[in-house]
């Protein structure tokens, strides 16, 4: 095992993969993770509250919306961790500012995921280490040692034909040292990419992705991970969470899409899920009380999920202040009691023990996760 690890660099037999799902628009934490066990929740959301009986139970206090019922097996098997009142120190409540701050990992340049991939003992991963599903590479991947924006498998192909590759093999055959090793890794990756294209993909274990974009992108992510081409980080966006107007009819389908997509992905990956962790995050949560248009406005603390795999042990992490007026901040928002970086750090450490967290999150003083909860 150890030998294999030393040999492999850039292709993915033992690589772990982090899938970062960003819910753009500020996803309502009380919709993602309703506080069904808190009487005040039913008081502040009289029209849209999820009843304790219909929720997917996480613990005595929290559940998942029934729209995310597809994740019930993951919850029962302890593969999902959920965090409440999580967020950044952004107080502008501006989408642009808050997304930038969260994706950069602080008031700094470059993205946290980009720095994570760059600043490790093995300075860079392979050429396919980071894949951004969508048109452009997101801020979180800025500064990565490699990042490929990808809309379909065609963006992930090699243009040279067989004769070209054969000739390359002859030329690189005599190279030794690190250069020769990287060349051999690359030929290996080329072979895997070719298999990826040669075979029609069908999801395993009866997994059914929806036909929506999020489902298609997760399907592609699963395909890449299983092909072991060396993908260490995938970013996926799911937008539409900026629910200022009539939130209930808008957010139901979104929650369903999120839950179904993640459940299909987990099912599809099967055993490969052990070396894969999905992180679900959003720039901020939303106002506790509904506005006059039955929507919610920009808030502070929101929810985060970890689905895995490594790093998601079925915990509920919530330093929960309650929903009474004096527990809320600003115009009536859940405070941020857990910094999102403190959720990411243990996870990143498990994925790459040599990663230097002081460089990934410069200026951040890490706090052990859930300490306040356990102390309470």
């Amino acid at each position: 095992m150890k030998q294999a690890r030393a040999h492999l660099h850039g292709n993915g037999d033992l690589q772990q993969t982090l899938v970062v799902v960003f819910l753009r628009g500020g996803a309502d934490g009380l919709a993602l993770m309703p506080a069904v066990g808190d009487d005040d929740y039913h008081r502040v959301r009289p029209l849209t509250a999820v009843g304790q009986a219909e929720a997917i139970r996480l613990d005595d206090r929290f559940g998942l919306s029934p729209a995310m019922a597809a994740l019930e097996p993951a919850v029962k098997e302890g593969a999902l961790s959920a965090v409440h009142c999580v967020g950044s120190d952004d107080t502008t409540r501006s989408h642009f500012e808050a997304q930038d701050l969260m994706e950069h990992g602080g008031h700094t340049g470059g993205g946290w995921l980009g720095r994570f991939l760059r600043f490790r003992e093995q300075a860079t991963g392979g050429a396919l280490a980071a894949v951004a599903l969508g048109q452009a590479v997101p801020e979180s991947l800025r500064g990565a040692a490699s990042a490929t924006a990808m809309q379909s498998l065609d963006d992930f192909s090699f243009s040279g034909g067989d004769a070209f590759v054969q000739s390359l093999k002859q030329l690189y055959g005599g190279e030794t040292g690190v250069f020769g090793a990287r060349a051999r890794d690359t030929f290996d990756a080329l072979g895997r990419i070719r298999n990826l294209h040669a075979n029609e993909y069908s999801p395993a274990h009866g997994a059914e992705y929806g036909g929506d974009r999020f489902g298609r992108e997760l399907r592609l992510a699963a395909q890449l991970i299983k092909a072991r081409v060396g993908v260490e980080a995938v970013t996926v966006d799911l937008g539409g969470w900026d629910t200022h107007l009539s939130q209930a009819p808008l957010i139901g389908p979104l929650l369903r899409r999120l839950g179904n997509g993640l459940a299909a992905f987990r099912q599809d990956l099967g055993a490969a899920m052990r070396r894969t962790t999905v992180v679900v995050m959003s720039e901020f949560g939303r106002r506790v009380s509904e506005n006059s248009a039955l929507g919610t406005d920009h808030g502070r603390g929101g929810a985060m999920f970890l689905l895995g795999g490594d790093g998601a042990e079925g915990r509920v992490i919530a330093d929960w202040p309650g929903l009474k007026r004096d527990a809320l901040v600003g115009p009536g928002d859940l405070p941020v009691t857990t910094d999102y970086r403190d959720v990411l750090i243990p996870l990143l450490r498990r994925h790459a023990p040599s990663a230097d967290m002081a460089r990934v999150f410069p200026g951040h003083e890490a706090k052990p996760l859930g300490q306040a909860v356990e102390a309470a």
């Binding site: 470059g110 760059r118 050429a127 490929t148 243009s159 070209f164 390359l168 460089r359």
Partner: protein
């Protein structure tokens, strides 16, 4: 707006990029030696790679190769004497780069500024005649790294590139350092603008002071202490960027935010200074650090790493550091000395090309016509080498190893370029081979020497000799 001198000027001005219609692309003679000769070596290191015919043009500068190369080096060290209209014509369409004053940058979408700055950087790397100037602009852009994605840098870096890095790239190091220290982008990137001391006992922000010593001047083992960092931070407190209506973007000294007490920097006493006199601390600090012997050694080491080898010979560093110190940081004289060391001449093909260098050298070698648009820029993202996006203050590495995992995208790029399948970039492979005098000569042009029998056989078998040579091991090194 076009030039009017001479009756054919307007027509020429319309065709400065592609050449006049019907202007023949003449045959050229590639290098014929069995190994890389001095002219190719100089072209590899002082430029982003030779263009078709450039090797023989260098040799034609004098009868003896030595003299010819010396003339080429001296010409590249004097970019102000090189006409660069054709490249500037290409860059002129990136209008945001010419904005002045700096406040106007804030009127633009950051995405547009980023795109234009990146494309102009690539366009100049490929097409500028002032190649060495461009090579040094890249060197200093890493030495004084600023990441566009930090805060206001997205608005401020274009001016830093234009007003700080470019004018001083071959000037005097102390002036470059001073310009950088007062650059709006640098004050933002390393938090100098947040370095305020309102009352005695306030802790200054030491981010810039630390990087000034560790990265920009003395180097991490340059013999300074944590106390020096703190003292320099105190000296440099109070500089900010104006926000008022008529002072947007202006760098100002604010005595009320400056630590007026006495300080000691690297053993030198700086007296207490009240009011506006406090601004003189800035000049003292920069004079002390720019003139420090460790700075000469640190800069010499970095230059030798860039232009000689990842582990440069100590003798070369000694020579270069000596000239740097003796000339008070004259960048041209320092580099001229470097290029005339035996160590430089001996170190052929020893530097692994950074991705931008690889792409530019491929476009230059093939005489490609490119709009340097998104499809090309995407390769820089894939290979992790977007200009102005390195996510830490120390700038992109010049060592080989961190870049060796980019082979997949290099090969892909080479194959696509050979097949003419990069949108917005055109290469006439057959014509280029004809101009060179056949496939073997084309390979010699791309490798800077006669191809080996194996290389030639592989090129023939590959079905795409041009792409294969660009993807070959030798072309990854300069």
């Amino acid at each position: 707006m076009l030039g009017t001198a001479g009756c054919d000027a307007p027509q020429k001005a319309l065709w400065p990029v592609t050449g006049l219609p019907g202007e023949a692309k003449p045959p050229f003679t590639p290098p014929g030696g069995g190994s890389i000769d001095l002219a190719t070596h100089a072209l590899n290191r002082l430029t982003f790679g030779p263009r078709p015919g450039q090797h023989e043009r260098v040799l034609r500068l004098a009868k003896r190769e030595e003299e010819a190369v010396a003339k080429f080096i001296d010409a590249q060290l004097a970019p102000e004497k090189i006409n660069d209209d054709r490249a500037e014509f290409r860059v002129r369409r990136f209008e945001t780069l010419a904005l002045a004053p700096i406040g106007e940058f804030y009127e633009f979408q950051p995405g547009l500024l980023r795109e234009e700055l990146t494309r102009a950087t690539l366009a100049r790397a490929v097409y500028s005649e002032r190649q060495f100037q461009e090579v040094m602009v890249r060197f200093w852009s890493d030495h004084f790294n600023i990441d566009l994605s930090k805060g206001d840098c997205k608005w401020l870096k274009p001016a830093d590139d234009r007003d700080v890095i470019r004018p001083h790239a071959l000037g005097r190091f102390p002036e470059l350092l001073a310009a950088s220290a007062k650059s709006q982008a640098m004050l933002t990137y390393l938090d100098g603008r947040a370095n305020r001391v309102r009352r005695p006992g306030d802790k200054p922000n030491e981010n810039y002071a630390r990087e000034l010593l560790e990265l920009h001047t003395l180097g991490v083992h340059g013999g300074y202490t944590q106390r020096d960092v703190m003292e320099i931070a105190r000296c440099l407190s109070g500089w900010r960027i104006g926000r008022g209506l008529f002072e947007v973007g202006k760098v100002q000294f604010e005595p009320g935010l400056h630590d007026a007490g006495a300080k000691t920097v690297l053993g030198e006493a700086i007296p207490a200074r009240k009011g506006m006199a406090g601004r003189d601390d800035f000049d003292d600090v920069l004079r002390i650090v720019a003139g420090h012997p460790s700075t000469a050694r640190h800069l010499a080491t970095k230059l030798c790493q860039r232009f000689i080898a990842d582990e440069p010979p100590a003798a070369a560093i000694d020579t270069v550091a000596g000239v740097f110190a003796k000339t008070n940081g004259d960048i041209r004289q320092t580099l001229r000395a470097l290029f005339f060391t035996d160590e430089f001449r001996a170190a052929r093909g020893t530097k692994f090309k950074q991705p931008l260098h690889f792409i530019a050298s491929a476009l230059r070698a093939t005489g490609a016509e490119s709009d340097v648009g998104r499809p090309l820029v995407n390769y820089l993202v894939r290979m992790g080498h977007m200009p102005f996006e390195y996510p830490a203050p120390d700038g992109y590495p010049t060592r080989a190893e961190p870049w060796m995992s980019t082979l997949l995208w290099r090969w892909n790029f080479a194959a696509k370029l050979g097949q003419g399948r990069i949108d917005g970039t055109r290469v006439q492979a057959d014509r280029l081979a004809r101009r060179a005098g056949g496939m073997a000569k084309l390979a010699a042009h791309l490798l800077g020497r006669r191809p080996s029998d194996d290389e030639l056989a592989a090129a023939k078998a590959s079905g795409d000799a041009l792409g294969l040579m660009l993807a070959s091991p030798s072309f990854q090194w300069s």
